[in-house]
Symmetry: D2
Subunit: 464 residues, 4 copies
């Protein structure tokens, strides 16, 4: 309903815990912001693997009865994002397959650049596909590998794909995890008592009282078995390109992502924004919830008081029927209401994390004015988003991205804002302290680490 | 899941609008915070009345198909709160009845003090009861009235009950509304183009682009018909006793309640709290969402920076299965997570609106300490809640109310807080600027406007 | 889907059995043919009464979990028939009411002739109605009675109504049953070990291994308590008028109804039909399932071989979408298919129990011809149905009853049958051996025991 | 709930009809007796293929809305049988796959003898399996074929499997059908106006007003395209071995199967049974519904009158809760009730189609005696079933088959019958007029056309 980039998934894996399914379900609940369309868990009791998948929120899909159908001490789970279109149970993950090497399940966050090409080749060799998910590609490549060792078969498969993947895999007695060489999507390693956990964000560890150990590193493959954890580095080392949007919007502020507190980074974005785009004002108002932390940073740096001038209704679901007597800003109004007492007669700075199409921002500006704001200054804690993402984020086409087609001044005019300021690219670098970590910022710069989806230079697939 | 007093309902009525059902449904969505257990709408096309009731959230109960079964230009709707126990479709409202005077529907926010007694008398006279709701009492009393005029029959019924009611009623061609003489629960009057609206909070008007006209006044009965709005004052005037907890916790901060902005009042509570219970600290953290505005006030007054040190997971529903390997603060942790980056090594002031049993607050203090807080000072933007409410709020018994049984110092010890401060009673008065409006504060003082439920002095029921 | 008169309900009551709910549920399953729209059970453990109602078949509404919510040693249950229109959960029975005399539940098979009038009077006296069922009238009348004894209050209520009722009622510690003075609808008394059972048909006793004791007699009121069974005869004795259609179509052939085996009576109808309307033929084919037993009788008497020339598909539910490329006899074809091997070149006698509108019969004749029948002779094991029923059966208006508007020869022509024969009225009398039992045959004769619904002569309602 | 062999599926395909999905759904409804667990339809509009699968009955899975999601002029459909155990949506058919040759869907009735072996080989070559159905094997073999022509790829796949299959396949613009060389399961070809139909039984043609053209012959492969119907004979000719149990029990009596009227064959079984096992008796009673036609034959031949001494309750679903106060013959009693008026004091011949474990028959004998039968003679219209089926029928193991372990006299004793007679093998041959058609009767003789599942002699799989 909001005009945002969308995270495409969260993953969770746990090895050696008597309540593997239940902790997975709690972990997925903590990752629910990363995907609300479907969820699933696969468990293993070292003899048999079992699956439960469903459409909806984690708590709608799993209850005491379904969790009881999932015995076992190892498990992986997945939450998937919500789109309006092709949302089918078939595309729920983890993806489970019977292979000559035994059963295996995959849970994947990311997008493969060469998925269509690999898929085409696999079909030529006789594979049949059941889903439209990139994840199924891993399963076929794994099934076709002739390597003797489990981990080598997975590495074999990974060598044939290009793109973004933070992956957890479960076989009867082992848990595997892998992160692509650029490390686009996050993946962390933790412990809960004697169990190992691999998951997208640390907030999942917090809920189950787990301890953060370290990030799974870009290009690292991990195998956890009765012999403990083994780490592999099968790929040539490249400069990591971790997704800056995790810090801007996707990750929960209580998570530590890419080694840094999301809250602190986001707050620093706000401060930097104030330094770059200060304006005389009476109140700083966030677009809740995602804009709150940056707005606090802006308020601190600028000294302009912070207020919750927009109140969010958290009961909003998928669809509402708009009256024929059309309501202005209908979609936004279902979620947000402006507080006249806070806004009336005030010069308002409204802070949001990003502008995609601009339609929502325009409605918010109008709502603030309707509630009496004397001036509305829009401040965005990311640079203009001008390019689509091919590495795990659901973004519109360039044609739909307002910043790809209009100058800042034009956008300000479209929003009917008194002024508009985006954080600068340099400001972003400074605020995140670029250095040992280099981020992927292709959505701002078009500087894609492995080229756009249309310009793939091909991968060695001769091994089939 | 949280340890809170609970609002018991929200009401909405609309007269003379071509999309009466759809606007009711949107209005109920805006009032969803007042009740999540069940909801319902009754419409009239001036010939026939139609009902749709269901369990769950407004958006789960109503969709395009169900709204199409509710044609008509007048409607009333209701949302009901969620309890764990006796939650049945039978107790969903509006309550519809066929009477000798024709069909009528009632939507009621409040609680009658003498419901059991009146019900007993009605049964003696041969009435049969279908529900356990006080609301049904109004229907029986109305049906038994021999008055000739519609409004007189309603007044006849109201005269026989004591307690809290903000009521909307629909007959085929008229909409009625009534507020008890003390005006315990809110009720406002508004307009949408040519239509009249009567509803619990102004946020329902905002969503449908309605205009606030005035409060339905304590003791006022309103009838809206083709002749327009008529106002009646059938009761002896008493000092109003409007529920202070609407300002403390129940109402949405974007509403104007009892003539005052909830946001502004709540912010002033925070400021007053800082004046009364200032303490050297590094950060002010709200318990989200209800503590945010007061925490902002506290921060402003004290100069201690505000931060979102607790992050709320909004995907939480009714039940989660706790692992046998028990998780500390499980129930709270499903909803809240502490942000270590904000809290570590800091002296923390945590602001909440109230403490009921103290169990949740105790867990929150522990979570803050686990995340590294050096000191935890709890500040509450209401006085100690020592008495149950009999006027429309779901409260535990005195035995369960921690403040009814322990001194502040003991409570602080129970919470393991470094200090605990409640806003004083005088501070509350000052912050709300007591005067033309007098609030009911019986939950703090035990000063019940019409005595406890057990000490009813009886009402004239001789008219049957 | 078929063109039949429809039974309007089945009732079941059990007193003093440790598994009262479970036996009720089995009993209702055995009575499922009497109503498929909704079902319900009310139980009492002598302290509390509990209700579960639902839409659909007994086995869809009740499972282990719902039965566990119905503890108690006494119970009553009800199945209700299926119509297309106003089918609401609200109209499911038993009807439960809280009264000054305590809680009571009613399950009713029948129709009251003066329901509207009594209801009107009750509303004038201040009663409010929740349903459109006649059953609710009993509850109000009972609640308003000032008699001291339970059974007298029930009798008080019964005295104020006219029409058909086979009724079971449950209060906390007693089970009551009543049958109207004419005894329109069946009601039998049985035992299961130490428990008493009152139910519509003996097939319900068979399933639970109960023993048939006797019929509850027309005009009898029964009360079962810890003191045992007491019988009351509060009404002036009249000639009984038991519904002949129970023998023709409604009751299951394995039941004993009004003291006679339904199977034997139905078979005798077939024999009599053969005597009255013999015709040279090669095969006798029933319209399954209801025509089977009469067709067997016809075959025996006539010597013409019996064959299942029409096969029934028992998986048919409510709705099917007909192709635009319209299929001939679509509705009937979903349920029945003709067997060419049986019919080809044969002179066919097809036996059915009744013709209502004639539409289905016409399609069946066409289906038989399409499958090669050389001649089709329709034989009906009841006289022409010319009048609607007001005593518990759902019948169309006179205008829709083909026999009310056309002569037999015209109907034969409409059906495109080579001949058509109805059993004569005298034949029916002879076959059922009229005598100590006198049947209501108003649907054939228009001879209504208490006049049509429109000509009620009024009842003493002055007692209110 | 009954002790029967179970049919494992029904298939339906239609080519070139504007309402392909709707006719498929009606066809599947007519085939519902062949499978009640799940159903599905795949359609093609020559550009896109679409699938809808679900658990339950055809009418529960498909309604107007779901049929609207299935546009197209070609379609195939499938109904699957109901077992208590591994019944998953995943195993619903048709099975749809994306291949290098484009999308294809398979609907299959039968069982492959070498499925496990082929599957194993496919997995070794890198295929991954999603279901436990034999059907998926066809899809993988097809996908791996390098033949250029569609039909050759299908034939390529069929060459690698052994066992029973009546198969329909849909690609975007063509419909294929195939029947294994032995022709175990039925498959017929028909027309509806300009459309071709391929389906399991002629009753599906009857419902949609289709015309029977001929059987798809054993070993025949058919391709229907814009060029019309082409027939292929890729296999060496063998003597057909069509399943005799289709005539005994599975097929609907109104179908023509293997070129003969099921009704007529079944009636002849009854006559033959009377010739072989006549006994002085007063009444012949069928076990409904499957025993009715044979019982009629028995009655005709023997002159003993036929009666419906057992009445079936057609509302029975999957599960019922038995009371702790156990009811004798509970499972059977839910479905059947004995008619005392028919049975009392009589010498009864009860006719059923088969005895599997004997438990149900034993209960039926007891029920008949409880209802007063003086003697009970059991007559079975098939020979003793001593061997399990590997060609598409769900049968228990030999250990559970009573006739595999006990002599007829012992079985009679177990049933507590006065006598027991099975039709002889020669009688069966005579009644079916063995000749141009040779049946598979391995369940009586153990004479498996291609050996038991455990003794497969291997197939040429070297082509992969």
């Amino acid at each position: 309903m909001f005009d945002k980039f969308r995270e495409e998934c969260g993953v969770f894996g746990i090895y050696n815990h008597p309540e593997a399914a239940n902790l997975s379900y709690l972990g997925l609940h903590a990752l629910q912001h990363r995907g609300q369309e479907s969820a699933g868990i696969v468990t293993s009791d070292e003899v048999q693997m079992r699956t439960h998948l469903g459409m909806g929120l984690v708590q709608e899909i799993f209850d005491e009865d379904t969790l009881e159908t999932l015995p076992g001490i190892h498990a992986i789970g997945h939450v998937r994002y919500s789109t309006t279109g092709a949302s089918h149970l078939k595309n729920a993950q983890p993806f489970f397959a019977e292979t000559a090497h035994g059963p295996i399940a995959f849970a994947h966050n990311g997008n493969l650049k060469n998925a269509a090409e690999v898929r085409h080749r696999l079909e030529e060799y006789g594979s049949i596909f059941q889903t439209t998910m990139d994840t199924e590609v891993f399963a076929h490549l794994y099934a076709r590998s002739h390597k003797e060792k489990l981990v080598d078969r997975l590495i074999d498969a990974l060598r044939k794909v290009q793109g973004a993947y933070s992956l957890v895999c479960l076989v009867e007695k082992r848990l595997l995890a892998a992160r692509d060489p650029f490390g686009f999507r996050p993946l962390v390693l933790g412990r809960v008592r004697d169990a190992w956990v691999v998951t997208s964000e640390t907030c999942a560890l917090d809920l189950i009282e787990g301890e953060y150990v370290r990030d799974v590193e870009p290009g690292e493959v991990i195998m956890i078995s009765s012999k403990g954890l083994e780490s592999f580095r099968p790929f040539a080392k490249v400069e990591p390109r971790q997704c800056i949007f995790e810090h801007i919007y996707f990750a929960r502020p209580d998570s530590v992502v890419f080694g840094r507190s999301v809250y602190s980074v986001r707050q620093e974005f706000g401060r930097q924004l104030a330094r770059e785009h200060g304006v005389p004002a009476d109140v700083v108002v966030p677009v809740p919830d995602s804009g709150i932390v940056a707005a606090l940073g802006y308020s601190e740096e600028s000294g302009v008081p912070f207020a919750m001038g927009l109140i969010r209704n958290h009961y909003v679901g998928r669809t509402f029927i708009e009256p024929e007597q059309s309501i202005r800003h209908f979609g936004v109004k279902l979620k947000l209401n402006a507080v006249r007492g806070v806004l009336e007669g005030k010069r308002v700075v409204v802070v949001d994390d990003s502008i995609v199409r601009g339609t929502t921002s325009r409605k918010i500006v109008a709502m603030l004015r309707d509630a009496g704001a004397a001036e509305v200054h829009v401040r965005i804690s990311s640079p203009p988003t001008c390019f689509p993402c091919y590495f795990g984020i659901d973004t519109p086409t360039r044609a739909e991205l307002i910043a790809a087609n209009q100058q800042v001044a034009e956008i300000a005019q479209f929003l009917t804002a008194d002024s508009l300021g985006y954080i600068s690219h340099q400001g972003l670098e400074k605020a995140t302290d670029y250095g040992p970590y280099v981020y992927c910022d292709a959505c701002f710069t078009g500087n894609y680490p492995i080229g756009g989806r249309d310009t793939a230079e091909g991968v060695q697939l001769g091994l089939f």
